[in-house]
Symmetry: C2
Subunit: 371 residues, 2 copies
């Protein structure tokens, strides 16, 4: 097992100050890596965002510490089944409606958007909306990865109440919600997305210079773009990404079994990988629910949520999402530490192994893999 | 067939100027009659409203022509499955939340409530909410009866756009909707009610002295109370109600067959009534979907929606709702003319026989029954 030295948090890295069309392939490839198997396919979003940036020019990317008292930020994301989004494209009017309604509810100008999750298409699309709307992008997100439910979001870990929730669908219906907690919001927003035909656009949480620090995962737009650049520009993309992420390559091998079913609106199951080359004779199983959740080897747990696990093509380094896994693929498994926010008591309560039904304690994976 | 002379609209009648606890049994019995088989059981609502009026005092009832420029009226109703409402009672906080949110969205004080439908429990409950909240009740409703869907409402016939929709559930979740039309509102509000556990409270349409006339069915709270008084105080309740309503007694007899199934969230089916006494030898079939929709005899259509058909106990005169119909009941069938608004082109498009899937032309029933 090629184990890199693992910091608990990634070191401070250079951040982008704006996003141009040429950055989008890297951002999209990186967002897919942070999708940890879920988060929705990035290709359509990538093309839409490239076009928006060419048409409207670059988007200014600002850091959490650059927010001023004039700034108001909304978290945006698609809500619903990503598979529906492939056929039912969103309209550029949706983001406009959402911004207008948000400003009306907030009673102030919205100056920036941020992705609710950096993983998958939801990490890419907000750049295009910001370009069209002429607002900034906050270099941060609400997960530092992809998660399947609305409760699993950093302001909820930080205890910021969600009294700001607006959804807009492709025909123009708008819904404003004030729910008593995030679990009720998830339930109602999901029902609203289904009533809208399966998918809609949402703005959640109104954050400011005062409330954003500590309630968002900082630097993730830049970080996803750097990871994508490493992937696209290196002759050894898997190692280059592992270095950039501070990740371990848990195994490299061949997929020998995929047990996968769609139930309750989720993809669930497991995938088995038999080591090849230096890893010959090793066997790992990864349990999944939309995202990759738990990695096991010889009856031992190597990694669990909220730490990140992504299965990538062993040659190209591109992420393979859970619904695209199939027998015979040559893959590498990358694992790396989640943001420290998810390792707090509240973070683990919302997104630790028990939140997904696994009766397992959470052990930071670098402690396991460095034994 | 005992056919009374039938005016196209009911004559102007004395209206109440307030509702006291002693009026509630009559209002509830009358609302059940206007339920035309649907609208939900009135008993629980009756007890809650009686208690509210005893505790908070009478409610002022004002006519549509008494509205001043200071008045703002919201239409209120339960949304969802009435059967759920029997077990999951609403909270008095719900109506308060709804009023507070309505005032915030409207940017003005709400001075009065009105029932969205006078038929069934939705015709009774608003009186109790008004008593608790210290506001007036508009002597009007949005249907003049009960209908199963949100699109079948008088302001929609009159072309008033529904840009005001607020729902609140029993735990305190609030949803504000701006849908592009009533069909989308029905779809989203229904999904929201299900996400809330099956039922919630809604405020729809903000009406004023300017917009209410012509967009509501006037006088229906008073009228339902008068009908209930006739029912409760006469030795011959069926005749007394027929006189009060300007209704025909289509047949009096015995239920010989009930074909009823629950599908797609509706009660559907038909009931067969064999005449007794003077009506011996006659056979009528009534088709139903929550409400009574069409009456047939010898292959001929006697009545269709939007005209009103209610099956009552032949002795007591109390309405029998579609889910309570059973073999052997002694019943009379009352039918009377709907409000002229429903006989307009738009009214029939929304709530005529074709809107319920019957390939039948609408013929005002008094023209048929007076042949």
């Amino acid at each position: 097992m090629a184990t890199a030295p693992l910091p608990a948090s990634p070191p401070v890295q250079q951040t982008l100050s704006r996003v141009v069309a040429d950055d989008v392939p890297a951002l999209a490839a990186g967002a897919a890596i942070f999708g940890t198997g879920g988060g929705g396919a990035v290709y359509t979003a990538q093309r839409i965002v490239e076009r928006a940036l060419l048409q409207h020019g670059p988007v200014e990317l600002i850091g959490v510490d650059e927010l001023t008292e004039d700034d108001a930020v909304i978290m945006m994301s698609g809500i619903g089944a990503p598979t529906v989004g492939i056929e039912m494209l969103s309209s550029s009017a949706q983001a406009e409606t959402l911004l207008r309604e948000s400003e009306q509810v907030a009673g102030r100008r919205i100056t920036a958007l941020m992705p609710a999750e950096i993983g998958g298409s939801n990490g890419v699309s907000p750049i295009g909306w910001a370009a069209r709307l002429g607002v900034k992008i906050l270099d941060a997100d609400g997960m530092g990865r992809a998660f399947p439910e609305a409760t699993m979001i950093s302001p909820n870990v930080a205890g910021v109440p969600c009294d700001f929730s607006i959804q807009c669908d492709v025909v123009g219906n708008v819904t404003i919600r004030k729910t008593i907690d995030l679990a009720w919001l998830e339930r109602h927003a999901r029902a609203g997305a289904v009533a809208s035909g399966g998918i809609c656009l949402g703005a959640h949480y109104l954050l400011t210079a005062e409330t954003a620090p500590g309630a968002v995962i900082p630097g993730t737009v830049s970080r996803a773009t750097r990871v994508g650049h490493a992937l696209l520009s290196s002759p050894d993309p898997v190692s280059a990404m592992a270095d950039e992420l501070g990740a371990s390559v848990l195994v490299t091998g061949k997929i020998t079994d995929v047990a996968r079913r769609t139930e309750g609106g989720f993809v669930r199951g497991s995938v088995t990988i038999a080591g090849t080359g230096d890893d010959r004779g090793r066997l790992q199983r990864i349990e999944l629910q939309n995202e990759n959740l738990v990695v096991l080897e010889d009856g031992e747990v190597l990694v669990t949520v909220p730490d990140l696990v992504t299965i990538v093509d062993a040659e190209t380094g591109h992420a393979i999402s859970t619904e695209m896994l199939r027998f015979g693929q040559r893959v590498s498994v990358l694992a790396w530490a989640c943001d420290p926010l998810w390792r707090t008591e509240r973070g683990l309560q919302l997104a630790g192994p028990r939140a997904f039904g696994y009766d397992l304690p959470y052990v930071p994976f670098e402690r396991k893999s460095s034994r």
